[in-house]
Symmetry: D2
Subunit: 206 residues, 4 copies
């Protein structure tokens, strides 16, 4: 059988780029569970969905609206896999933004503090629910903006993620219970700004 | 007052790249209404949302979850503006895909026909409702895939649109009533494949 | 095979309670297309979904998240069928609210005008998109309120619909194009207030 | 100022109907946090939204689509408050369904086991995400069915909740981490079936 890239997905999980025992204020148990169960669960689910899509597409009798139920799951799981990989890769740092990325963000938001205020407020507003806060570069409008996502199926159009903060409760309940604000503080302390800087540079070329 | 790019948006509508009186099977009245009222309405709405966000961010008393209601509208309207601009720009052609873009699509989907079958089926499944069918290049996974979107807030993660088909009913009801299948046929007859080819080339560099 | 009511649905469309050729400002063509294609489409889709659910439930190998894709479609199509039946049944009148229903609404909203202002504004805000405006009686909170719905899967918890206005574009594009405000005016002219009054009385007993 | 019931909401939380220290397999810490922070947070948020709606409605310059952002939050928070009250009230029992409610459920689903199989499978499919599983009586179709909800804004049309299982991660992460299946087992052990039976009786009269 010929390989069809559009109906394939990764077989393995992308390893953590840092030692989960060494984050500041985020437990190894939380990070390992998040990586293995939530990110890992979506990697497996995406593979299942793609297999079912290939079969359903080959079947002329599949009603189109039923086919789309699988395509919705495809969108959702793709979002989960991609945003989780961005998320883990932008953790493991010391939380200190370098001059270049500070300037890029300040240029877009008026000041670095304005950006941080909005990003944190959006996180606070998602506490107790589900979703993501994404600093992204919109390739179409050429803007660096913060985007609110209510679930994995949401996503800003034509946008490359620069910094991703998971606000699903599996990101913090195990360590902080309902205290999402403490998680947001911990997230900021562990941002891997070198990776953020790399993404800013890469996105600017798109 | 200092300019803050992240809280600004375009003041004007992007003009149509083709003569709306000359599409095959899509009336000038439909295209003009779609461009002016639906795309144009979102351009205006996005400007209003951004202004309200700037004011709300400056107000420490804005509850975070209320702030996020505006950020959700920001996501939704950004999607509407960006996808509509992609949509109109990929219309106005003769519907004949060139060898290069046919090959790129066939490489991803096994065959060009498999791609077209899925893209059309997804459109059919959205008939009578709302949403988009997007052929996109996922910069993170390096895959060319078709994505289902249920509304403007949906969007594939880290993906650049290659071909966008609007399935909101304002795209076809005026000409075809509930006969979405006729609209999909007409859409395919008017695809501007040179623009699609340009986007494929551009996305590959991201 | 034993009948399983939870996995069954109606085989036929509920007939219109009025002559679609005689509404004020809403064409017979629009109403017939809406009833047959959009409402009728959901009646058929719901039957298909229920059949697939029964089969998938009997199969132990169906992944739970794939099963839920069908349950989401079940929720969506149930909403479409129920709200459409409420909608058509609250059309065909002369648009003149009687004293009793005016009083019930005024008691809840401070004045009948306040209710109408909110209901119409919500409709205007849904123009160009999808969704419903529902005046409903919340059996749990014992409140009469207006609810915004963005699609058929949305719905107010524990609430019986009293007056339903469809804001999907198939409700008006054929007659009014993008001019949703004209449709809202026409909707109000055709409200069957006797049916609304009947529902208020019935809901109060729940 | 005249009281306007439609723009008011409850000032206080509905107390737990059971001693949270005495559930089987669900910790007092989990239940108290869930009740106070998640349910309680929505009670406060709903009050805030209603106040802002009353102000925004009185302001003629509020754009309709911005008004609807608040109405979406109104829908979402109403769902959260109502479903949480149903949820806590259907906990605190011994998990043993009585003959009457078993028969009502068996009549609808073919067998009580079929119902339980679907209800549990839907819960499993929601693990790691957000949403609710609702056994509800649809007053319009006169059916007892299980409904999938992806968030608090979702809801089955014209339906009274009979049994509600919260699948937001705040319902279980604190006790079980990502092991949603263990939570579902614990939920079933604590169902207050007398309350379920009461709701079935009450719904049948609607």
């Amino acid at each position: 059988m010929t390989s069809i890239p559009a109906f394939e997905s990764q077989a393995t999980l992308k390893p953590l780029s840092f030692d989960p025992a060494k984050l500041a204020g985020l437990s190894e148990r939380l990070i390992r569970s998040h990586w293995e169960n939530n990110y890992g669960g979506s990697v497996k689910a995406l593979a299942t969905v793609k297999k079912q899509l290939a079969e359903a597409l080959a079947n002329k009798d599949t009603p189109a609206f039923i086919y789309n139920d699988l395509k919705r799951e495809h969108l959702l799981r793709t979002g989960s896999v991609v945003f989780h990989e961005c998320y883990f890769d932008n953790l493991g740092g010391n939380g200190q933004a370098g001059a270049n990325e500070r300037k890029a963000i300040a240029d877009a938001f008026g000041s670095f503090d304005t950006w941080e205020t909005e990003f944190r407020r959006m996180g606070a507003g998602l506490g107790g629910g589900s979703g993501w806060v994404i600093l992204g570069f919109n390739v179409h409008t050429r803007q660096l903006e913060n985007y609110w996502l209510g679930d994995h199926a949401h996503g800003p159009a034509a946008t490359l993620p620069i910094l991703a903060m998971d606000m699903y409760e599996h990101s913090y309940q195990m360590d902080f219970g309902a205290a999402a604000a403490q998680y947001i503080d911990a997230f900021f302390q562990n941002i891997q700004w070198e990776e953020v800087a790399r993404r800013i540079g890469s996105a600017a070329k798109a």
